[in-house]
Symmetry: none
Subunit: 264 residues, 2 copies
């Protein structure tokens, strides 16, 4: 491993994430040597990344979040509250007769559930999960984008998928979000996913990013799109005003979800 003695603070976190994604884990002691800083600084980085949900903190280092497939079910259960509120707000951006492009992801599954049935919508998706949810509803024309399946994220990936997307044109695109930052734009966790999202955005008129608080203003592993390719941003009801203002300064429309109803 090349010693990066002169890495910028933010740059260091970026490189830690890369190494994390490649090896599945990182050791605090190793990173301290590699970047020529104390373990305290590394720990601070790791703590911060974990707070954003980009890694799992363990004794001695950190683990990649990619192999957490147990949370795959948890995520689907988790969506009951905050994700549904986000989804309810997001579908208000959809107008009748539109063609939608919906990427995989737990938030987007919630959006699929929240789509109204009386709008004569056409949906392109690379997620079997979303296709199935829509299949149970009426009034949708569904087109499944084929390709090799990455079971970690539950979607099709690879050249075949990208090629299939290129042949399509949609009005509205919902790229699954891993992180978004007002300056640098949209980020995702793996390069294959990233390519899919890029292509989806290219082939769509407007792009809507739906993001939960922990991914707002965060940076992940691979870059997907600059901020000016994002037209709408749907955030939670209690998202920070400062963050939102930063996005609006870049021409992004902010849509705030309704406060979650405290119910039985």
């Amino acid at each position: 491993m090349p010693p990066d003695n002169d890495a910028l603070p933010g740059e260091r976190q970026q490189k830690i994430l890369l190494q994390l994604n490649e090896h599945g884990r990182v050791l605090a002691a190793d990173l301290a040597i590699r970047f020529g800083v104390s373990e305290d600084s590394i720990r601070r980085d790791l703590r911060e990344l974990a707070a954003r949900g980009l890694c799992r903190r363990v004794y001695g280092g950190a683990l990649s979040r990619a192999l957490d497939f147990a949370p795959l079910k948890q995520r689907q259960e988790h969506q009951t509250g905050r994700k549904q509120a986000l989804a309810r707000r997001a579908v208000q951006l959809v107008r009748p007769h539109q063609i939608l492009m919906i990427d995989a992801g737990s938030t987007n599954s919630a959006i699929a559930d929240a789509l109204p049935e009386d709008m004569d919508l056409t949906v392109f998706t690379n997620a079997p999960d979303i296709a199935q949810r829509l299949m149970e509803k009426n009034g949708f024309e569904i087109l499944l984008i084929g390709g090799r399946i990455d079971k970690r994220v539950g979607q099709t990936v690879g050249a075949q998928t990208v090629d299939a997307i290129r042949r399509l044109r949609a009005d509205l695109c919902f790229p699954g979000t891993c992180a978004i930052d007002a300056e640098t734009g949209l980020w995702s966790m793996a390069s294959e996913e990233s390519l899919i999202k890029q292509t989806m955005i290219e082939c769509s008129g407007e792009s809507v990013v739906v993001v939960s608080n922990e991914n707002l203003g965060a940076v992940a592993v691979t870059h997907v799109a600059p901020i000016d390719e994002i037209d709408h941003l749907v955030v939670e009801s209690d998202a920070g005003d400062a963050s939102c203002a930063a996005f609006e300064a870049h021409g992004v429309s902010i849509h705030r979800a309704d406060p979650e109803r405290s119910k039985a």
Copy 2:
């Protein structure tokens, strides 16, 4: 098993979970050797995982929680016990490293559930439902065939799908069956489905038709394939001998499912 002498504490628990999901059970003594720690530490890990509901603690090790959800699958089995029996027999025709082409349909969903995980199988399918079932298992390469979705049958159809199938080659094909007759061959309910099934059979080495009693010797709406393109026929345990003999006369191998076990 590779000795993971330098695994982080948290990492170790994650790997234990992996092994647990793969083999269904783990032994404390084995794990202690593998990770180069005392059995006490392993026991502490297992105790902790069990407390989080991620495994079931037993004397000597731990069991996967997946078997706890077996009752859930058994419920499905009770509902469609005959189909499960058919599926169990059908998957015995599959050999390791094969490439399968699986059409949509409730029987084929049961087959997907019944496929073993340790055979390094590749599966082509046009049914999101089947893709999702396989996603939850290990050891499968899954390729989803894209296209417009027909929600009545839960599969992709149309020219795009046919075109995608033509680019593939499989060893074994499971065309979803609507009806089969010894003289006239395979039939389905709609012309679009029919075209899909035809193409699948053309692009596969052998074809296996799995059929329940009520569709044996029946004729439906549109013709799919003549009887000589069908290599194997899986029938229920109490299928009529006369019908079976008629198929065998046309060179079709008959595979009879085991009688359904009447159990608690």
